[in-house]
Amino acid sequence: QQQVKQSPQSLIVQKGGISIINCAYENTAFDYFPWYQQFPGKGPALLIAIRPDVSEKKEGRFTISFNKSAKQFSLHIMDSQPGDSATYFCAASRGWEYGNKLVFGAGTILRVKS
């Protein structure tokens, strides 16, 4: 059972454009939703995270939109740059009572064309 579904699998965006990646989850007990960025040969690195008590969080060019009723959340990258080309993973966890273990989506390969 895939608990976190991510789309699209890959995405090509022009420099300066907006990149949008979507995730849907099934388990309503999830209470922490991070996005990770991974470059080839490197481990994932936290980009931005949100908890379900807010509907949006913005950090620089990166914004998470969260829709609790629809069980969906998305990452928006404004003014996309070639350096943003990487694989992006959404994830979810149930918090420390359950060890805060992360359930990841399958990933989205983003390519920003200059």
């Binding site: 976190v4 490197k42 481990g43 936290l46 908890r51 993973f89 805060n100 273990k101 399958a106 990933g107």
Partner: protein, 119 residues
Amino acid sequence: GAGVSQTPSNKVTEKGKYVELRCDPISGHTALYWYRQSLGQGPEFLIYFQGTGAADDSGLPNDRFFAVRPEGSVSTLKIQRTERGDSAVYLCASSRLPGLAGGSTDTQYFGPGTRLTVL
């Protein structure tokens, strides 16, 4: 400060052999996780340590896999009788635990991974 380090970065072994993968977490991080990432997939949880004990090993695929963290710092993931299907990148992550007053979920910091290839 130093991040999470993992050794070796690459490991090639033959089917049936035993391998050990090492993780050095960030100093002071009590929580340590192992994940496995297959090609084109997101990381999948294997095991979680809180201090020296394995608090949750529900993600280990079978009894050929086990992990230890004897002194609450460095951890070793051990795979016996390796199979070709074990080929993947094995990622380690560490984080602080929330404070005594409770607290929010904390960031997991990942190492670069060990790429295991079983021939």
